[in-house]
Amino acid sequence: MTDTAAAAKKAPKDADALRKMLRDMLLIRRFEEKSGEAYALGKIGGFCHLYIGQEAVGVGTMAALRPDDYVLTSYREHGQALARGMSSRAVMAELYGKATGCSGGKGGSMHLFDVSKGFLGGHAIVGGHIPLVTGVAFAIKYREGDQVAVAFFGEAAVNNGAFHEALNMAALWRLPAIFICENNRYGMGTALERASAIYDVAQRACSYDMPAEVVDGMDVLAVRDAVARAAQRARDRYTPTLLEIRTYRFMGHSMSDPIHGHYRTKDEVDEMKARDPIHAFADKLRADGLLDDEHWQAMEADVTDEVEDALRFADESPEPGPEALTTDVYRD
């Protein structure tokens, strides 16, 4: 038997799961590329922060979580929402501001919500949602549950007071939280070394006596395994973890920001693009005999169809009616 064949006979479940991870990353990539185009055409308004280059972090994380866990994130969230299993139709429709969007058109790119998937938003104040995650973890412990509460944030949030307060309380009260810092090196146009007295984000965990790891964010399996470790620690021992996942965004901070220029060089971007997580993982699966060209092309076509479908759905969906202006200000 060839190596490929032998590999293909390995735990089929695992193979499916791995291929799903690849597909999810590819879906995110294509979705984000199309979002960028739609934004440029004026179909998406406001701010649009793309996840291109960071797919492995979202996908790897969700692969390690349970459906009953909770996720809160910042505004660079389309990829995480899709990775969590929210429908690409619902997400695209929300970006288009349509009534069929996951937030009824009232949240937009920065405020995607789906309670059924434990996806609790979509928050736009840097660092502002991190204490919320401590709160969710508090509630889990209050109810003596074994779920975990996950926060995604960028490295620019770790100098923020909210970050500090939230991590301190999570450690002090021993709460089942995972604080995932997606360190893509740049807070908008400011490199981390210009914003932070300490470069290694993971080092901050010692202020709270909290376990921490540095993870290669371009390697989806590394991410998955680190998150799985942190999740186990949370479920078993009500202990929070800080994960610094080093990644890179290939686009600008948002659609309104330059890809490179004053704050980073084109060479650097190109260098990182060579470490594209999707290609890296696809190559790995091929090497392990879990992926061949046919699979890959089918996957690409399937993803392309799904994204086209999402675009069409969003385009054809109705706008929210004027009465939506005043609904859900208060819960009666």
Partner: protein, 328 residues
Amino acid sequence: MAVLTYRDALNQALREEMARDNRVFLMGEEVGVYQGAYKVSRGLLEEFGPMRVVDTPITELGFAGVGVGAAMVGLRPVIEFMTWNFALLAIDQIVNSAAKMLYMSNGQIPIPIVFRGPGGAALMLAAQHSQSFEAWYANVPGLKVVTPATPADAKGLLKSAIRDDNPVIFIEGEMLYNTKGEVPDGEHVIPLGVADVKHPGTDVTLVSYAKMVAVALKAAEELAKDGISAEVIDLRTLRPLDTATIVASVQKTNRCVVVEEGWPVAGFGAQIVDGIQRAAFDDLDAPVVRVTGADVPMPYNRHLEKLAKPDAAKVVAAARQVLYLPAE
């Protein structure tokens, strides 16, 4: 009917609601072991345990956010700010998280949280400890704002606030905690959004809330000596505002004075005046006059502080002004 202090009325409300619904918990600085900075939570740690009465580090932003997060997944937190002055640090969580979550999520995530603590001035606590911010919160759609003036109202309104599925800003007063009043026995719940005529009258309407209700009542007493019958309305809830009660009174008296502790510019009284002039324009015989705190940071010196605060004499003068009576 028992006579309770305002603080004990609040204590009873917390105790009853925590016993009634085990999703309700209290969190804040010194609420547990210390028995509460103002003793409002006395005995609760002993009764309900440390998971339900949680002492926090000095991290208003952090623990306000923790409260909101817990509410997002179905708990019913009561977050105590030692005073509302410190809540400025937490205002991002109150406004950007708590107030807006339901709307941004298209109705998926209600936030049944109560933020409570004393607001306004006490005595000689100076500029950073004497501020009234009710207008700031009343301005925000998604929040409710409650300001009880009496022990009975404090108990009844706190119970309602805790049972409400929306974020409620509950503003008490250091100077109110020791005041005493009758509190009905048994289950005593006052709905939010309903004002109370604390003293009926016919000649002039005095609208007020929180600590200023006592000032208005004193002014009504003084005015009665001159044969002027003042009607004192205690708003109790600022948002949603019971405009109907105010308007009905103004239609009867044709003139109104609004008494508020905070700063005048864009203070909550301005909203009340707007409501009156819109709804009762043809019933007004005089412009509505506001009596407010002085437009200055609060000074430390006791005499200067008195000048900075509304008092009964100022309210009486305002009432005489709208009655077109000469100043005394």
